[in-house]
């Protein structure tokens, strides 16, 4: 069995082994093996290529961009996605625009340990994908499975664009697979995680699993819910979403991030503008509540969508 976290470590090991231009840079990624042990033993296996960085996300990303310009393919680990705002300027003003300004590609991968875990609180639980997806020039990956965590991270390193790799901390240990995948669906293509005909849930990352659990519950009530895993939110696979809504006529977009101007809003906007005539009911969405993320596990449990709250929203949608 291999966990989501181990898949991320294995992908980095393979990238280091296969491409001499790859190196890993981040706080405590070297000797310590990373805050979550995503780079465990990599410093020993690849001497001189897994480097501890100072406590400055600004400097970490800035230097990675410089290295990318010089032909390297750096993988940067932010200890928590929440801290990436300290390096925000380097990501959105430098990395995202470099190729467009200079015709020099910027093949950096920024790993963001994202999303909430019980007791994480406001500074260690954020989902930042919508923020980065807002900027042209960035690719934003949000893998929801062990297989995707592995294959998408390898793809992130391989492509020439800067990639924001949102790996979900809750999935690190909770998600396990039999083995690593031998082939992969390309980034930019969503996956139908569960086929159904009554309604479509469009989601990504950890919310895929809450949505699948909800679909299972509703199957017991006779509803057949289709669940789509976006896999990457930029590019966003509108075609797969529209094709699904064409089958079901009903859409619920679910995300762990805040609602305001986020991925669920974008999904609904696209369906409303490109597929209005497919809708048999007003499209719905469910997000975390529009407040900072609470510390207390009980509060946190009611802050983000769960299978139960997704189910409640879905029942409302099915009744419309």
């Amino acid at each position: 069995m291999i966990t989501y976290l181990e898949a991320i470590r294995e992908a980095q090991a393979r990238a280091l082994a296969e491409d001499p231009r790859v190196y890993i840079y981040g706080q405590d990624v070297g000797q310590f093996g990373g805050a979550f042990k995503a780079t465990k033993n990599l410093a020993q296996e690849f001497p001189g290529r897994v480097l501890d960085a100072p406590l400055s996300e600004d400097a970490i990303i800035g230097s990675a961009i410089g290295a990318a310009i010089e032909g390297f393919r750096p993988i940067v680990e932010m200890q928590f996605a929440d801290f990436s705002t300290v390096g925000f300027n380097q990501i959105v003003n430098q990395a995202a625009t470099l190729h467009w300004r200079t015709n020099v590609p910027c093949p950096i991968t920024v790993r963001l340990p994202s999303g909430g875990t019980a007791g994480g609180g406001p500074f260690h639980s954020q989902s930042m994908e919508a923020l980065y997806a807002h900027y042209p020039g960035l690719i934003v990956m949000t893998p929801a499975t062990v297989e995707d965590a592995y294959s998408m991270l390898l793809e992130a390193v391989a492509i020439d664009d800067p990639v924001i790799f949102c790996e979900h901390k809750y999935l690190y240990y909770h998600l396990k697979a039999e083995c690593l995948p031998s082939e992969a669906v390309p980034t930019g293509k969503a996956r139908i995680a569960r086929a159904g005909r009554d309604a479509t849930i469009v989601t990504y990352s950890a919310m895929l699993h809450e949505s699948l659990a909800c679909a299972e519950d509703l199957a017991g009530e006779g509803w057949d819910i289709e669940v789509i895993d976006l896999r990457s939110i930029k590019p966003l696979d509108t075609d797969t979403v529209l094709a699904s809504v064409a089958r079901t006529g009903r859409l619920l977009a679910v995300g762990e991030a805040w609602p305001w101007g986020g991925v669920t809003a974008e999904v609904i906007a696209r369906v409303a503008t490109e597929g209005f005539d497919l809708l048999d009911a007003p499209p719905q969405r469910l997000n975390a509540r529009d407040t900072p993320i609470p510390f207390h596990p009980n509060l946190w449990g009611t802050h983000r969508p769960t299978a139960r709250t997704i189910g409640a929203r879905m029942r409302d949608l099915l009744r419309l």
Partner: protein
């Protein structure tokens, strides 16, 4: 502003019989307001002194709006179901409002806040008539109309027909024998469906037609009975064309000319040839043209100038042996005049003191109730009936 009735969302203040400072009793009318249904009084929720009137004459206020303030005793306030705070609040004098200053322990000003719950939802906002974009698109694709769904039981919110219901309905149709409707049938269906979006009412009365039948016998060419009715309607509308006006928004659109159509049954449908300026053309001059148009309509070869643009239609459903009917006006018209089959009935003759046989037919007028009321329709029918008693003058 209280809820003054179902589907009343606002009311206009038409009279303010009291002044600030006046004492009013509980349930006494303190304001007269006019809704789109009636003029009625707004009553005081409890006895007290009017300290503020927040309304202006001829202004409209929604249900739930504050109309004014009453100064009342604690007992009255409790009786009206308001919470009464602990007495002797020195803050009563805030904002420098002296009216609260006198005996603050006993008197207090409260705004009565009627509940906003129970505001009526317009009937078309939800329910069976709500159609999702997908339903609309699917029906457009198949060339169907809302009326085609009348027999589908909806399973959605408030009984709306969902796409699943619709597809199930369509698949069940395949079990039946299906034959194409003729283009004539489709055209009639379209006209009737569009017309039925309006509130159509019908009034009717028996009319003696002995004089008309006698006149017809002596005429050459013989005018059809419907032509008498058509001419009488045209003369009546020539005197006052307002009942045939169309309501568009907040305007009555008056007819340019009294061009009146008449219904002719053709294969699988109805055609309506038109006689132009029927108010200015005597009956005798229209008889030939009328007979000619009947023939052309039956052959479905009506010339363009004899179609469309009419302001009312006459239909003689009596030719089918029917005595009464409630025909539907054409969508671009406000009314249709119908005539039933003539029959001989006993009529009390005062002079002779006995029943004598007379020939009578029921005339009906179906009309857009937005434009015309029962009274107006009745007067128009009466005028037509009276004109028909002297057919020689038509």
């Amino acid at each position: 502003m209280p809820q003054l009735g179902e589907s009343i969302a606002e009311a206009t203040v038409v009279s303010i019989p009291f002044n600030v400072g006046d004492i009013v009793d509980s349930d006494q009318d303190v304001l007269d307001v006019e809704t789109n249904k009636a003029t009625m009084g707004v009553t005081a929720p409890c006895s007290g002194r009017i300290v503020e009137l927040s309304v202006e004459l001829q202004h409209s206020y929604p249900v739930g709006a504050t109309l004014g303030f009453l100064e009342v005793t604690n007992e009255e306030a409790i009786r009206a179901g308001l919470d009464v705070p602990a007495p002797a609040e020195p803050t009563a004098e805030r904002n420098g409002e002296t009216r609260h200053a006198e005996a603050p322990a006993e008197k207090k000003t409260y705004g009565v806040q009627p509940t906003l719950r129970g505001l009526p939802v317009p009937a078309h906002a939800s329910g069976a008539s709500y159609m999702s974009p997908r339903m609309r698109a699917r029906m457009n694709e198949l060339g169907l109309h809302a009326a085609d769904l009348a027999g589908v039981a909806g399973s959605g919110a408030a009984g709306r027909v969902t796409v699943e219901d619709f597809e199930k309905f369509l698949s069940q149709l395949e079990n039946h024998k299906l034959s194409p409707a003729s283009s004539m049938r489709v055209a009639v269906a379209d006209a009737m469906r569009r017309s039925w979006t309006r509130p159509i009412a019908t009034v009717g009365m028996p009319v003696r037609i002995d004089a008309m039948l006698a006149h017809r016998k002596t005429s050459d060419p013989k005018p059809g009975p419907a032509l008498y009715a058509l001419r009488a309607l045209a003369v009546a509308l020539g005197e006052n064309s307002a009942p045939a006006g169309r309501l568009v928004g907040e305007k009555i659109v008056h007819p340019l000319a009294i061009d009146v159509g008449f219904a002719v049954e053709a294969e699988d449908g109805v055609l309506v040839p038109v006689l132009r300026h029927a108010d200015r053309t005597p009956l005798a001059q229209m008889a030939n043209r009328y007979n000619e148009l009947v023939e052309l309509a039956r052959q479905r070869r009506l010339p363009a100038n004899a179609q469309g643009g009419s302001i009312a239609t006459v239909t003689n459903f009596g030719t089918f042996g029917l005595e009464w009917a409630t025909p539907i006006p054409l969508p671009e018209q406000t009314m249709v005049l119908g005539m039933g089959a003539g029959r001989i009935v006993p009529n009390w003759d005062k002079e002779k003191g006995q029943f004598l046989p007379v020939t009578e037919a029921h005339f009906t007028l179906s009309f857009d109730h937005r434009v015309l009321d029962g009274g107006g329709a009745g007067r128009l029918l009466q005028r037509i009936a009276s004109l028909l008693q002297d057919p020689g003058s038509l």
